[in-house]
């Protein structure tokens, strides 16, 4: 049984931030949880699924984030507590439904957890979900440490029920994936009864239908929605997670939130500025508790904002300061806009130190000399430089090899529209720089559908889109439907690696099991594409010759959308892990090395990390520790020097 359902009140556990969020949800008595995988959020649904049976929960990996919010909303409408979880980019996907949900309101407590990724460590952009809280006009909470990550969840559920609207809780990578001690509270009972009461009067929030239908009468729903937000702002004035530490009249007031509050505390401590600098750590960041903020502004002349990505705290606090200027006097502000902190990327204690050192030059001398380049410099000094690449045995490398070569041989300047998954690295040398557009989930096929229609403007380049199996169900099917209906001649390549591989093999609608490991109907992508009207081919990407030939034929094949399914499980998939199909070795006598006829194709271009160039002997060799035994490199070696032998079972 998971320690996360430990009944022992007040016991402490070392928890990852995402586990703390799970424990918080369990202590809140959550009944339903839905999400779509995405780093750094994925552990929340996964961890909940492990205690689902014990705690009588319904948990699912939904097809996409919008569906996840819809599933969670249904539970709320039926009076249950529900959680929906996603990374920031998922909020973009869910935002259409969310806007309507914020208008219709909720019943049972409903919390949206979004895990943002400042610095885009595992994302294709550095998106910002906090702004959605403003657009949606819903309250936003940001826990500042691991204990709060747990404690804030039940508080958020209670708030949601008080204002009858969805509440957003935002985490960030360093909180979700960092770990800290968390003291447990008690777990409620597990019985719950769902009923959707909906036969009352149209606008009765207790018994009527739950609809978002303003129809030229904004006062009927938008008005009440704003009242809910005002109510939340009032509650936020006494939110226990807004804290202040420091002198009563600090020389500098740091206004911060989330994980940045820890960076701020560390930097202030290192410079010995505890008696001169105060830290106002806000957990209720939208709408801001105006009275609380004004009180702290009044006590300081200089204000430093410490926050990541878009300066939202900075903007909103400045508005409060401007409105209260007559009362509290003029202030000097430091932050992203003044250039004291960078406007892109993650923050860290060093960056806050730099900002403080500029404001307090005399204190800068107390900065420790142990890490002259900053704490973040240490790991970089001791790890070798290495380009991003696919794992040994990754099917994507083989797929891109064939796609690249098919397009080069086709010779008409064809290109690939990329999509979201490990295969974003098709933009890099790891994928032979084959991918030429890259945006969000499902957009590769949509963009390709558009490119395909530019033939009438003289564009005769073949258009290819790549799309993962999970991405196909998430958002690419509408794009394929569009292409088929509009007769857009593009080739969609489904990189079917048997799961949502990049985020850890979560099941998707094409998987034979669900999040609990129970058998589930698996949707057949091949049949779906055929019945939609596409010409469909299937190939094993490890068969380089056949894959390339099939793709070339599809590229030449006249009108309409075509689909090539490249099916091979991810090298790290549970079904493959630890099992090598081939023992691979290099015959040093036959290796041509850097000579005419090879020029180190395997290590210089193919670039599987399992292949190593031996500088002294000037031949390639296999790194047996990491070779996954896929055997594909044997087929690219022009000299037949890479030898593969099937492993006996």
């Amino acid at each position: 049984m998971s320690f996360l359902i430990d009944e022992g009140r007040n016991i402490q556990h070392l928890l990852m931030g995402n586990e703390a969020i799970v424990r918080g949800a369990l202590e809140a008595g959550v009944n339903v949880a839905a999400g779509y995988p995405g780093t750094p959020s994925s552990e929340i649904i996964e961890t909940l699924s492990k205690v689902a049976r014990d705690r009588n929960l319904y948990v699912e990996w939904s097809t996409n984030e919008k569906v996840a919010v819809e599933v969670a909303a249904a539970a709320s409408f039926a009076g249950l507590r529900s959680l929906c979880v996603m990374k920031q980019n998922g909020v973009n996907v869910a935002s259409d439904f969310l806007l309507h949900l914020a208008s219709s309101g909720t019943r049972g407590g409903m919390v949206l957890v979004t895990c943002d990724d400042p610095g885009a460590l595992s994302s294709v952009n550095e998106g910002e979900s906090r702004l959605f809280a403003q657009i949606l006009e819903i309250p936003l909470l940001e826990p500042g440490d691991f204990q709060e990550a747990k404690d804030i969840i039940p508080w958020a559920f209670a708030l949601s029920e008080k204002i009858r609207n969805v509440v957003m809780v935002r985490s960030v990578t360093r909180l979700s994936h960092g770990s800290g001690n968390v003291r447990f509270g008690s777990l409620p009972g597990t019985s719950a009864q769902a009923e959707f009461v909906c036969h009352g009067p149209l606008l009765d929030p207790e018994t009527g239908p739950i609809i978002s239908m303003i129809l030229a009468a904004p006062e009927l729903q938008h008005g009440p929605q704003q009242e809910k937000l005002k109510k939340a702002a009032g509650i936020f004035e006494t939110c226990p997670f807004n804290t202040y530490q420091g002198p009563d009249e600090p020389e500098l007031l740091i206004v911060t939130a989330s994980i940045c509050s820890l960076y701020s505390r560390e930097a202030v401590r290192i410079l010995g500025l505890e008696d001169r600098v105060g830290i106002l750590k806000l957990a209720a960041t939208w709408p801001l508790p105006e009275r609380l903020v004004k009180k702290h502004l009044a006590a300081a002349k200089r204000i430093l904002f410490v926050e990541e990505v878009v300066p939202t705290l900075e903007d909103h606090v400045k508005v409060i300061a401007a409105e209260a200027a007559g009362e509290i006097g003029a202030k000097t502000f430091y932050g992203k806009k003044s250039g004291h902190l960078p406007s892109v990327g993650e923050l860290n204690p060093d960056l806050v130190l730099d900002a403080l050192a500029r404001i307090f030059p005399a204190a800068a001398g107390t900065r420790p000399a142990a890490s002259p380049g900053g704490v973040t410099d240490i790991p970089q000094r001791f790890t070798p430089a290495r380009g991003m690449t696919f794992c040994p045995g990754c099917p994507h490398r083989a797929s891109y090899w064939s796609i690249h070569n098919a397009l080069a041989l086709d010779g008409r300047g064809g290109f690939v529209c990329g999509d979201i998954g490990c295969y974003v690295m098709g933009t890099l040398p790891a994928g032979f720089s084959t991918v030429k557009t890259l945006h969000c989930m499902g957009s590769g096929s949509g963009v390709a559908s558009g490119f395909g229609k530019l033939r009438s403007f003289g564009m005769d380049q073949p258009v290819v889109a790549v799309c993962g199996d999970s991405t196909f169900f998430h958002a690419a099917m509408p794009a394929l439907a569009n292409a088929i209906h509009q007769r857009s001649p593009f080739t969609m390549i489904l990189l079917d690696n048997r799961g949502t591989a990049m985020t850890g093999f979560q099941p998707h609608p094409g998987s034979p099991t669900n999040v609990l490991g129970d058998e589930a109907p698996a949707l057949d992508m091949e049949k779906i594409c055929r019945s939609m009207g596409a010409k469909v081919e299937i190939s094993d990407p490890f068969d380089l010759v056949k894959t390339r030939e099939k793709l070339n034929r599809l590229l030449e094949y006249g009108e309409g959308a075509k689909v090539l399914i490249l099916r091979q499980a991810c090298a790290l998939s549970p079904e493959k892990r630890g099992q090598r199909k081939y023992e691979v070795s290099v015959d040093a006598e036959r290796c041509r090395g850097e000579n005419c006829g090879c020029s180190r194709l395997c290590t210089r271009i193919f670039g599987c990390p399992g292949l190593v160039w031996d500088r002294e002997k000037e031949v390639s060799r296999i790194d047996e520790m990491i070779c996954a035994g896929c055997g594909v490199c044997a087929d690219i070696c022009p000299a037949g020097a890479i030898v593969r032998k099937e492993v006996a079972r």
């Binding site: 070569n405 041989l409 010779g411 005419c596 006829g597 090879c598 020029s599 022009p638």
Partner: protein, 371 residues
């Protein structure tokens, strides 16, 4: 010699649309490949001087060096190239009767070369549908299947490279003038490989005015005839001015004016109609569709042709001098046009790595003055 690598080759030949797709750079390494008549560089290679560049017949072709290598004398611009004799030829009674393009001379020579042990393998061009398919064969029986003209450029030499990679020697090669030029450069061992031995034993050149771009030709024909029913394609000698497509159930003729736009631009730079660097060259005899013109150029070519005649594989007649006038005129015209076009583009004795041909300036003047 001005030799460079794959990158320079790609820029100067492929991207400049000079590539005819002969296959000389294909199967030497994993970087060049050919698909439906077009050659592509798949990835950048880091070798600074490669065989690909050295063999390519569309870049840095040193006509003097090749002629010295083959004949021990400089290139002189003769319209028909260096030759020891010119004959009217056809297949003899020892050669199986079948459909030949003209007199069956090429098939007869190759079959005899196999049977006599002069060659142990041959690089030929078959056809798969409309697509020419390079073939390496090791039996005389396989020669017959390659007997008809393709008229489209073909990566034939990729099969030669593949055979050499496997260690084959004593090879017969049948190719167009550009392919024969590439083969002659390969025979010169341009990369100074130690222990190199000329792997060819008989190089048969085919007369060529121009070749067709496969992809354009296929697109053209697909709009005109059912491709799968094509059995033979022919361009009968002047004055016909047509391309004949023989179908299973009849024949279609297309005026050459409709066909010429399908000729790749690169053929306009070519000064060689009769495959001057072959051991023997073969074309259709003007005015006699069932006979060939055979130009014998080298000692080994002469020896094999004479032996083939003695053993009944080949029937040779002396070529009356007056019959040669038109051939000489046509070959001289192509030479002038090709050199003129090349010179206008700055590709004769020009910048290293960007020049098509190198030859003595006096010789070039001689070509232009010769009327």
């Amino acid at each position: 010699m001005n030799h460079f690598g794959s990158g320079e080759l790609e820029t100067a030949v492929i991207q400049s649309e000079l590539c005819i797709g002969c296959g000389a750079c294909v199967r030497l390494c994993p970087y060049f490949d050919s698909y439906r008549g077009k050659t592509a560089l798949l990835f950048p290679c880091a070798v600074e001087k490669g065989r690909c560049f050295a063999y390519c017949p569309k870049i840095e072709v040193d006509l003097d060096a090749i002629t010295r290598f083959l004949h021990g004398k400089p290139y002189d611009g003769n319209p028909l190239g260096h030759h020891r004799g010119i004959f009217i030829a056809r297949a003899g009674e020892k050669v199986r009767k079948q459909s030949f393009q003209a007199g069956g001379t090429v098939t007869a020579l190759m079959v005899y070369a196999f049977r006599s042990g002069n060659i142990r393998g041959a690089v030929l061009t078959n056809r798969k549908g409309l697509l020419p398919e390079p073939r390496f064969v090791t039996r005389s029986a396989d020669v017959y299947r390659a007997s008809l003209s393709k008229y489209t450029a073909a990566p034939t030499l990729s099969a030669l490279n593949e055979a050499l990679d496997k260690g084959h020697g004593n090879l017969g090669v049948v190719g167009t003038p550009c392919q024969v030029t590439a083969v002659s450069q390969m025979r010169m061992n341009p990369m100074d490989k130690p222990g190199f031995k000329d792997p060819t034993a008989l190089v048969v050149g085919l007369f060529c005015t121009w070749a067709l771009d496969f992809r354009r030709f296929e697109t053209f024909l697909a709009g005109e005839v059912p491709l799968e029913k094509i059995v033979k394609i022919d361009i009968p000698p002047p004055p016909a001015q047509v391309l004949e497509v023989y179908l299973e159930d009849g024949k279609r003729e297309f005026p050459l004016d409709r066909i010429r736009p399908l000729v790749p631009d690169t053929c306009g730079y070519c000064p060689d109609m009769t495959a001057e660097f072959a051991d023997v060259s073969v074309g259709v005899l003007e005015g006699r569709g069932d006979r060939n013109t055979l130009i014998v150029r080298t000692e080994r070519g002469e020896r094999i042709a004479r032996e083939a005649e003695e053993k009944g594989f080949l029937v040779l007649e002396e070529m009356p001098r007056e019959n040669l006038e038109h051939l000489q005129w046509a070959a001289g015209n192509k030479k002038k046009r090709g050199f003129l076009r090349s010179r206008e583009a700055g590709k004769v004795n020009g910048e290293p790595g960007k020049t098509l041909f190198r030859l003595a300036p006096e010789c070039l003047d001689g070509v232009f003055q010769d009327r």
